[in-house]
Amino acid sequence: MGVRTTVVSTVVAATLCFPMAGVAAAQDLDCSDFATQEAAQAVYNTNRTDPFDLDRDNDNRACERLPSGRYEDDPDGGTTPTKGVETGAGGTADLVTAGEDTADDSSGPLLPLGGVVLAAAGLLLLRRRSVGKRD
């Protein structure tokens, strides 16, 4: 398939995805088409001649009866946390520690190694003890 075909198809697909961009003027919008006042206001702001009559009382506020999106009062971009989060009180500490090998961890290989060392030490101790008994 030619490059041109691909490019044209992508443009057509993009237009299908964002119908508002190309054919907004052909479509009539009412306040009931918006979930929030802010969404209606955004469309109104793109064309102050108000072709859809979203601002019937001409006070530059579109669709005042629509609910406000709560999120408008909550801008992003505040402090970014550092460090971890203290999200445990320890009620299952024994269980969690026992199952900890299931999660990815860079220090993983050390744990089994520690186990082997411990087991070897235990065996040595046992052997010495039995040797001691024989004497």
């Binding site: 970014t80 946390p81 971890g84 999200t87 445990g88 299952t92 969690v96």
Partner: protein
Amino acid sequence: MRTSGRPTGRRTRLTAVIALALSLTLLGGCGRWRQEINGQVAEPVRLRVPVIDVDAPVEPLTVDENGVLPAPDTFDDTGWWRDGPEPGERGPAVIAGHLDSYRGPAVFYHLRDLKRGDTIFVDRADGTEAVFATDRIERHDKDDFPTEAVYGDTPDSQLRLITCGGKFDKRHRRYLDNVIVYATRVG
């Protein structure tokens, strides 16, 4: 002969254009949520992770004066990093929850059991939902927390779920690690 061949060629090309455009549209999934990513969406109110039986309220969390994200007030609720993106917007939305209480398991007790592809739902204040798929799960020492990977900006809409894990330091009554689930918006 050359001229008579042209219309057929054009028609074929037109058909190819239409077919490809339609399939791109379908594959690309031009649902509303892709447009949401560059805008602002409503606050999260509930987190649902069916595979680990999580269905819990989400409360806003504000970073303290030491730059640390506090844990949610209760063991059954989850908390969302309020100053960051709302779940569904571009960037990493962060939700934290307790691993356990003083007595037993808390809301994120089974978080470490999540697998790649597991679905996470976030219900929002305006009645809409954002859907995420688990990408990976990691465990890190809290003193070596991957701040950039968790809180750093992303080109798409991401979600992070954070809880405790690893060894429990009995003297200081704290877990030494954090378990972090990385997820990407899919719907």
